[in-house]
């Protein structure tokens, strides 16, 4: 069996190459190996960054015809573990029920294994198609040689090669051993996407039966013989350290095995570890810790002071001018810090034995977890073995891997004993890498005809982390001379990747402000946006304007695609109905991860101010849809996730620490507030698939806020919505 190694493989182009070898049992093994130069560089310099996708996948076909695929990146609900093998099965012409999927451990042979940035499907689509088609071509060749007929006379169907002229057929399993001896063809024909049979259908998740019967899948479910249970308590003030702790007292509590301070480990936030005979005993003992913290300078930080600092930026900034004669419109928008609040709290399991750290990690980026352990504990990468478990939600949280180093540091002290570290929910809220807060100070000018003649934005966020405004995206690219400035708050609040980084807050602000401008201009908001889209330089050109970027899609923004999804959403949602006061429709658009999404929301707001979301209508152009079931679920879930955050959630910082400690003060959307109707429409396309785990999120909140304005005349400029008074008379 041939396993490519990054040490011998140079950085290759996107086509990559195919490796092949025989399985011990006489099967055929085909792997694709490819790396993206940019992705590698990004991952090297920023371990927790949203890397472009750079995996490595293997197909094996056993003599009994079973096809096995190693899913190289983590499953967290986005459906990659089902969608990726579907791509291979399609090109391979193998029945779906013959495919077995196995989750890959961290292994250099698979390249970079990062499940971030909605990259799993777009990153794997081409290489996996090629892997499937290559295997199919070799099986055909094996059959042709066996029968002594030209390969061109053979076809494939349902996991078998057929020679119709003679009525012969051989199953893939029967051909695997012979195929493994053949040279790998350099170029193979891929299917015409119009002929796809499996892709685009609804395929339920491969782990569904295990989930509905409660089998151990998640990191928190890992159980090893003789395992002990740990809790780890860090200073609630960001940057604080342990001055002293009553560890000797806590060690004597019933069921407690050990308690100790961890400090001075490279990359580890200092804290106190408690190890006990069960999670419950570890948690209750952790609550009995009396710790003197050295809080450090971080204690002076607070959300109120940050708001003042942001205001000062907004006022100090002279801003770009609005032309004489135009009506100036100014508005300030603010969104708060958000926690990820994955339902499975952060956790990790490790065993240190014979110099090897073996780990079971619910992580989106296993290599980053491994690196933190090698760097923190001075272990070689080959001595840190990482198994990847299912993730009880990711949303970007598990791109950072503090839990890996924490449990490894504890396991190293308890050599020979397996340790499971579980974060108490309170610690999970206190030590997140939050979605950054942000402020937009907009200034626009409308001429007497209601045309936007100026559009400027002064943006402020916490320093570090993603989510910056770069300018150049829609709607700024529709208005010549537009200026976007970006300012940073000083501070040490840890921020990180949160589903649809940047767009998750900035699209809310910009799409709300565009709605304000439409109303100020006395125009229908959809017509107004269509006018802006038509003003993007190069709009109307088939390939879209050169260099124009929208959202963080990274690709060229094609206004015509945006226009098409918006028009279709308006039609599907019955846009433009005359509605009584208290009912309203609103919409918003985004170009995120290269997908184009328009969302129309129908809401009602009672006179007492009670908001009900009646219906969401989404139209999505995400290229070819691989698995219609998970694609639809991702858009439904992403929209509701965006609404959940915008409606209810905020993390406020008080005296350098997060003020919210559990779900009772950081509520998630519950089923009784979920809209009764959620409609997701995909534009039929055979273009390569874009990302889809995130793009549904950004437009949902502004669509709701714009609908609230239509219903009540109240403009939401500060989130969450629940903090605003929606009463009307």
């Amino acid at each position: 069996m041939s396993v490519p190694s990054p040490s011998v493989a140079p950085v290759l182009d996107r086509r990559g190459f195919i490796k092949i070898g025989a399985l011990a049992g006489g099967g055929l093994l085909v792997g694709t190996y490819f790396r993206f130069g940019a992705a590698s560089a990004l991952a090297e310099t920023a371990p927790a960054a949203v890397a472009s996708f750079a995996p490595n996948a293997f197909i094996s076909i056993a003599a009994n015809g079973t096809v096995t695929l190693i899913a190289p990146n983590s499953e967290m609900g986005q459906g990659a573990k089902t969608a990726l093998p579907m791509i291979i099965a399609e090109e391979l012409d193998v029945p779906w029920d013959k495919v077995t999927i196995s989750q890959g451990d961290l292994n250099p042979a698979y390249g970079r294994q990062a499940a971030v940035g909605s990259g799993s499907t777009p990153g794997n689509y081409g290489p996996l198609r090629q892997a499937g088609a290559t295997a199919r071509a070799m099986l055909v060749e094996a059959a042709a040689q066996t029968w002594g007929v030209p390969a061109a006379e053979c076809t494939t169907e349902n996991g078998a090669v057929l020679h119709r002229a003679s009525g012969r057929h051989l199953g893939y399993g029967e051909l695997a051993a012979k195929a493994a001896t053949l040279p790998v063809p350099a170029d193979v024909a891929l299917k015409d996407p119009n002929d796809f049979k499996l892709l685009g259908t609804r395929v339920p998740g491969v782990d569904n039966e295990k989930i509905v019967t409660g089998q151990a899948l998640f990191g928190i479910d890992q159980t090893l013989p003789g395992m002990v249970y740990a809790a780890y308590v860090k200073c609630p003030v960001f940057g604080g350290k342990v001055a002293s702790a009553n560890v000797d007292e806590v060690k004597k509590l019933p069921g407690v095995r050990d308690a100790f301070v961890l400090d001075g480990i490279n990359g580890l936030t200092p804290g106190v570890a408690v190890v006990a005979g069960s999670t419950w005993l570890a948690f209750t003992a952790a609550q009995k810790l009396k710790i003197q913290w050295d809080q450090g300078p971080g204690v002076s930080q607070g959300s109120e002071a940050m708001a003042k600092q942001a205001e000062a930026f907004g006022q100090a900034d002279p801003g770009a001018a609005v032309p004489a004669g135009a009506t100036a419109i100014e508005a300030a928008y603010h969104y708060p810090f958000l926690a990820h609040a994955t339902l499975e709290p952060q956790n990790c399991t490790a065993l240190f034995k014979n110099g090897v750290m073996e780990m079971w990690c619910p992580t989106q980026v296993p290599s980053a977890g491994q690196r933190s352990v090698t760097q923190g504990l001075g272990l070689a990468a080959r001595d840190v073995v990482v198994h990847v478990t299912r993730l009880g939600g990711g949303f970007g949280r598990r791109g950072s891997n503090e839990f890996s180093l924490e449990v490894a540091a504890i396991a190293k002290r308890l050599e020979g004993t397996p340790v499971k570290l579980t974060w108490m929910r309170e610690h999970d809220f206190a030590h997140d890498n939050y979605r950054s807060n942000g402020w937009h100070f907009f200034r626009a000018g409308l001429d007497s005809a209601g045309k936007v003649v100026a559009l400027h934005d002064s943006f402020v966020k916490m320093q570090g982390g993603p989510g910056d405004m770069t300018g150049g995206g829609f709607p700024f690219n529709a208005v010549p001379g537009s200026q976007v400035q970006s300012n940073k708050l000083s501070g040490t609040i840890p921020t990180g990747y949160w589903r649809a980084p940047g767009d998750n807050g900035n699209t809310w602000a910009t799409q709300s402000f565009v709605d304000e401008l439409a109303h100020a201009a006395g125009r229908d908001p959809i017509d107004f946006t269509l006018g802006l889209l038509a003003a993007v330089p190069g709009a109307g050109a088939p390939g879209g304007p050169a260099g124009a970027r929208g959202g963080r899609g990274g690709g060229g923004f094609v206004p015509a695609k945006m226009e098409a999804v918006l028009k279709l959403a308006a039609e599907k949602a019955g846009w433009g109905k005359k509605l009584p006061r208290g009912q309203g429709q609103g919409f918003a658009i985004t170009h995120t991860n290269n997908a184009y999404v328009a969302v129309v929301a129908d809401v009602t707001v009672s006179q007492q101010g009670v908001l009900r979301i009646q219906k969401l209508t989404a139209v999505v152009d995400a290229g070819l849809i691989v698995n219609l079931s998970s694609a639809e679920a991702q858009v439904q879930g992403a929209m509701l996730d965006g609404i959940s955050a915008a409606w209810f959630q905020k993390i406020t910082i008080e005296a350098g620490a997060a003020a919210q400690v559990n779900y009772d003060d950081y509520p998630l959307l519950r089923i009784d507030n979920a809209p009764p109707a959620v409609e997701v429409n995909f534009v039929k396309s055979i273009a390569p698939p874009t990302g889809l785990g995130e793009p549904g999120l950004p437009p949902a909140a502004p669509a709701i806020c714009n609908a609230i304005f239509a219903a009540t005349g109240k403009r939401i400029r500060t989130l969450p919505i629940a903090d605003q008074d929606l009463k009307w008379a």
Binding site: G77, I211, S630, Q636, L669
Partner: protein
């Protein structure tokens, strides 16, 4: 420390644990039934839902002392003899799980609802299921799957 005879999924298990130990942790760490999940520990999220004599309850706030001799059903014990219940089948077929972490609790809660109200309305579903968070917000399909398990045509998607 006390001895308890816990009746879980049709079998009696003798355990020696502190009286205040929540059922959640006895199930997960002592009996190895990890299908019951920890989410918040304060009764907010519903990830720890089990059936207690057929009623959906949150096991993170239920001490062993209070469990007594009641019959506990966890998600592992719902399918008897390897046959999935109608609720479990509907969950698989309609592809409800996203990350899946909340779904054991959702399924048990839906099972208790359908036992009490075999033909629930959307309003019945919302009121019975609103104690169970889904962080992935799979609510649209949860409603559809409950209707499907009840043998009712699904409401508007």
């Amino acid at each position: 420390m006390s001895s308890f005879n816990l009746n879980v999924n049709g079998a009696v298990h003798a355990v020696d644990l502190d009286d205040n130990t929540p059922l959640l942790w006895a199930l997960r760490d002592t009996l190895g039934l990890v299908g019951t999940k920890y989410g918040c520990g304060i009764g907010e999220c519903g990830a720890c839902t089990v059936l207690l004599d057929g009623e959906a309850v949150k096991s993170c706030g239920l001490s062993l002392k209070k469990v007594g001799s009641a019959k506990v059903t966890t998600i592992e014990g719902l399918a008897r003899g390897g046959k999935l219940t109608a609720v479990q089948q509907a969950w698989c077929k309609l592809d409800v799980p996203q990350c899946g972490y909340c779904q054991g609790g959702q399924i048990l809660c839906a099972t208790a609802l359908l036992a009490a109200k075999p033909r629930p309305t959307d309003a019945d579903i919302d009121s019975a299921m609103s104690g169970n968070f889904c962080r992935c917000a799979s609510y649209t399909r949860i409603r559809q799957a409950i209707h499907a398990a009840a043998g009712q045509p699904t409401a508007a998607s």
